[in-house]
């Protein structure tokens, strides 16, 4: 960070922000590489945060689980959180979200960049939201691609939400889109043949 010292966010702030956006435990190593801070500094910031998010201090706890660090709701708040979960109306999905789900449904498992490629726009933020909502999941990695990016697919929750018993309930892509257009999509995906929706 090339800012003047006054502008540089504190280590604990950076870590707090990262932990808010991760539903999985984050290791000290991952925090260090995202923040650019040495591990010792990360450890010391985590120590400060553990006091800020301690039982009795906050409704949010900083917990050390599975070799990483995770924010979670305090057990004493669980009844209120459960009531909120029951009462909250799920946010509707955007047009972009429907498209990303359709990509994964018909061409999944596929990588983030393949989704963006098919749609013609960067879709990372939409993918992130769908992962958070449990409608997409990472199901493996594409070992042939540089960096071995994650492969994404629709989840059972998605199928349940659409009222479909299985992928087979969706009509084949060929009945929705002209063959020549599908050829272009496949070209972008560099896939030889379309996968029938049944094969999960």
């Amino acid at each position: 960070m090339s800012d003047t010292p006054g502008d540089t966010p504190r280590a604990s702030h950076l870590i707090e922000a990262i932990l808010l956006t991760s539903s999985r435990p984050v290791t000290v190593g991952a925090l260090s590489s995202a923040t650019g801070l040495p591990e010792a500094e990360v450890e010391s910031a985590l120590y400060d945060l553990a006091r800020r998010y301690a039982p009795g201090e906050s409704g949010i706890l900083l917990r050390e689980v599975a070799g990483g660090h995770l924010l979670s709701t305090s057990p004493e708040c669980a009844p209120a959180v459960e009531r909120f979960r029951d009462e909250a109306r799920p946010a509707p999905l955007s047009g972009a979200a429907h498209e990303v789900l359709a990509c994964a449904l018909y061409h999944g498992p596929l990588t983030r960049s393949a989704i963006s490629g098919v749609r013609g726009v960067n879709s990372d933020a939409v993918v992130r939201n769908l992962l958070d909502r449990g409608l997409l999941a990472e199901v493996g990695t594409d070992r042939d691609a540089p960096g071995s990016p994650a492969l994404l697919d629709v989840t059972d929750d998605f199928l349940i939400a659409t009222g479909a018993a299985s992928r087979g309930d969706f009509p084949p892509l060929e009945t929705l889109v002209a063959e020549e257009e599908l050829a272009r999509v496949r070209e972008r995906l560099q896939v030889e043949a379309p996968r029938p929706p049944e094969s999960t």
């Binding site: 808010l20 979960r85 799920p90 429907h98 098919v118 929750d157 929705l176 002209a178």
Partner: protein, 240 residues
Amino acid sequence: MTLDPAGRALSDFTVELDVYSGPYEWLLALILKEELEIFEVPLRELVGLYLSARDPGAPNTLERDTDFAGSAAALVLLKSRTLSPLAGEDEDEEGEGLSPQQLAERLTRYLMVRRGAQALRERFAANAGHYPSSHLLPPRPGRLRIDFERVLEAARRAFSRQAEPPVDHLGPITVTLQELASIIRTALVRGPVPYEELIRDMDRLRSAVTFAAALSLAHEGHLRLRQTEPLGPLTLEPLR
């Protein structure tokens, strides 16, 4: 003519031309409302004014250039439309009989929206980088409903987009500046080229982008845009 380095994209750019003097965005609005004949606006002078007022060190130079090239391209588009009106194109009938009052009202409305848009741009920028929590609880089974038909519709849309070149409007640009810049460079090898000749076989979108490409090349010093008289043709001349 002044340009506030930290100012809004193009709103502070004023022009002094024979046919018009005042803020550039009003000129644009006047032409869009067909109150000012596009042929009367000497494009070369306009570009010259813009370039001489341009501060390459300003923080929003790229934004400003993009806006200018975009609006200048829209002017060329209008010009080509005036030259060869498409059959069946329903031109704004009420545009003909607008009273000065009505026009002033419309212009005012447009200017306000333009300013509103600039204010929005700043708000979006100031609020970027706020990421929400990822610690979401899945809704109870059955609470979230995804419309089956909407998924199919989305599939149709996502997988058909490749075959849908949008050229009937100023939407997504399907040709690149680089591509057209190289066409211009090739044409200039043989000497000066009239702009009209360059775009003769091009559709509106390509001719508009060609103009933007010419502006960009002129700015880099590869060519000169020459217009000898206010109503005369525009010629591209090689410099190097």
